[in-house]
Structure formats: structure tokens, C-alpha cells
């Protein structure tokens, strides 16, 4: 009730990674492939997912909280994955 900010647009990047102890066959295969290509300096590769979300929220905190909730409910599988949420500058589109 006390909140009166007008909602604005936010960009969030979610990174979902297999948990440390969980087997990551993708990462392993990619590591091998990089080595075959001559990138011997690589010691480990973990492979995960990345999502860019555009959403409206009352403020940055609310946006981050909402995206974390989305991760818990859908974007990440808590049994085998960890996630991280990062709010990207509201104006930009957060991609290179």
C-alpha cells in the first residue's frame, strides 16, 4: 500500500548451472572438444543455461525478487541446479 513508485522495465540475466557435485556430461564433452582444438590450457568446463528476461516491477529489488521466484518455480531444477540472478542496467538490453 505504501509503495507508490510507478512500475518500470528491468532486464535480468539468469544463469543456471549444474551443481558442483552433479555430473555434467555436456561440460565434459565440450572440455574434450576444446582440448582437441588445441586449447590445452582449459582445466574445466561446466555447461548451463542462460535466460534474459524483460519484466516490469516497482523497483530493482522487487524485480530481482520476482526473478528469483521464477527460478525456484520454473527456470532451475533445484534437485540438480543452482541459479544466479543479475539485474542488468535497466536501459540497455544487457547483451553484447
Amino acid at each position: 500500500m505504501s509503495r507508490s513508485k510507478t512500475p518500470s522495465t528491468f532486464h535480468a540475466r539468469v544463469t543456471v548451472m549444474p551443481r558442483r557435485a552433479v555430473l555434467d556430461p555436456q561440460g565434459r564433452a565440450i572440455h574434450q572438444a576444446l582440448k582437441r582444438l588445441g586449447f590445452k590450457q582449459v582445466e574445466e568446463v561446466r555447461a548451463g543455461k542462460s535466460f534474459d528476461l524483460t519484466l516490469t516491477a516497482a523497483g530493482a529489488e522487487a524485480a530481482a525478487a520476482a526473478v528469483e521466484e521464477m527460478c525456484r518455480r520454473l527456470l532451475a531444477n533445484p534437485v540438480i541446479e543452482d541459479f544466479a540472478v543479475e539485474l542488468v542496467d535497466g536501459a540497455g538490453d544487457g547483451r553484447s
Binding site: A29, I30, A33
Partner: protein, 236 residues
């Protein structure tokens, strides 16, 4: 004809292609290991279906960078025949031997079903044996078969007659937006393309799975027969 079938780690239609070439058509068929540098004088190189390297990064991505692919590229450059089926098509795209890329099917699920194909050209070694057949039925079995390329690229392909196979309906009509006709959502319903010189074909459907009467469908046989016959004609 000497036919080489490339075995990448994770190829799983290699035996099926071998069976058709060797036992159905009586050709000289052999397997070529992914890290070989030499194609053993094979005139036809087949990149078979399957999940090379598990398709773990993108379908075909890691296989496209394996050692044998430089030899395959040289073979193609010299005009040698190359056929990429399903995963093999994905490898050809990733290797840059054919333009464009594959994305996940429009429904985001693996699809194993029969499709109808419009044969858009009959003057290639891959298709001449179809003679006046305009529509063929073949199975697909893939998760990433949605062909994409830029509009300019697509126009170039069409203009150059490089679109060889297109998903269509049973009567040969088009229905590019209809999931029943173009199940993976490919741009312009493209199911198979050839390079400009006409000697490298990539296709998502599996002709080797419908090349024997006992399996209830022989629509794939003319493709292999044409390749080996064509050779017979030109070599003599």
C-alpha cells in the same frame, strides 16, 4: 562404387546406411573413423545420422571440428559426392559446407514420424533416379531440424536452385506454416539443400530407413541407387 561412411563418436545410423549401400545395393561400403585424415579413395562420403558427441553443445558442432572433416571439405571442393543425413546435415552446416543453421523443432520435442517431401529438382546425382516422382514419404527423427538462415541467404538458395527437398503435403502441396506439413518449422519448409556445385547434399529425413520393401516403404532407395548409378554412368 566405393562408399565411405564416417563414424563420429555417437553416430548411430552408420550401420543403417552401410546396410543399404552394401546389402541392398551391393556397393563397396566401408566405415571411416572420425580422426582419419584419409578418405581411402571413397567416391561417396556419407555423414550418417545420430548424436555425434551427444549433440551436447549444438547438434553437429563438435563433429564438424573433427579431423576427418578437412578431408571431407577437400573432397567436396574437388567435386566429390557428400551426403549428410540428419545429424550429418547438421554437421555439414556447422562445418560451413552448407549455409544456414539448425534450431530446435518448433514444438521443442523430438519428433519421429513420416513426412512428405516435395522433390524440387531431379537433375542431381542425389535425385535423378526419382525420374518423374514429385513426392516421397520418408521418416524423420530429430529434435533440432528447424532450418534457419537469413532472408538474403534463403533467397540465394532458392534462386540458385539449391533447395532440393521441401516438406509438403501428401499431394505435393505446400503448407509451410502447418505443423502437420512442416513439423519442425523450417524456414520455407526446407528439408534438404545442396551446395552451389550440386555435389554436397544435406537432408533431415532418413532415406536409409525406407529403402526396403519389408519395412513397408522404399521411397528412400532411389536416392542411393541414383548416387551409385550416376557414378556408373560418369565413370565409364
Amino acid at each position: 562404387m566405393r562408399c565411405g561412411i564416417v563414424v563420429f563418436p555417437g553416430s548411430n545410423c552408420d550401420h543403417d546406411v552401410y546396410h543399404v549401400l552394401k546389402h541392398v545395393l551391393g556397393q563397396e561400403a566401408m566405415f571411416l573413423w572420425h580422426d582419419a585424415t584419409d578418405l581411402k579413395d571413397c567416391e561417396l562420403i556419407v555423414l550418417p545420422g545420430g548424436f555425434a558427441y551427444g549433440d551436447y553443445l549444438r547438434a553437429g558442432a563438435m563433429a564438424a571440428r573433427s579431423r576427418i572433416m578437412s578431408a571431407v571439405a577437400r573432397h567436396a571442393e574437388r567435386g566429390g559426392l557428400v551426403l549428410g543425413i540428419c545429424n550429418g546435415f547438421q554437421v555439414l552446416l556447422e562445418a560451413g559446407l552448407l549455409p544456414g543453421a539448425m534450431r530446435p523443432n518448433r514444438g521443442l520435442r523430438f519428433l519421429c514420424q513420416d513426412v512428405y517431401l516435395r522433390l524440387e529438382r531431379h537433375d542431381l546425382p542425389f535425385t535423378h533416379a526419382y525420374r518423374d516422382v514429385r513426392v516421397a514419404r520418408m521418416p524423420i527423427a530429430h529434435a533440432e531440424g528447424c532450418y534457419v538462415a537469413s532472408d538474403e541467404e534463403l533467397d540465394r538458395l532458392e534462386a540458385g536452385g539449391q533447395v532440393v527437398l521441401r516438406y509438403g503435403d501428401a499431394g505435393g502441396g505446400r503448407g509451410d506454416d502447418d505443423p502437420a506439413v512442416n513439423p519442425n518449422g523450417s524456414a520455407r519448409a526446407i528439408a534438404g539443400i545442396v551446395n552451389r556445385q550440386g555435389n554436397v547434399l544435406g537432408m533431415m529425413p532418413h532415406p536409409e530407413r525406407c529403402a526396403e520393401a519389408v519395412l513397408g516403404n522404399e521411397d528412400g532407395l532411389p536416392l542411393f541407387r541414383g548416387l551409385t548409378e550416376e557414378h556408373g554412368r560418369t565413370a565409364r
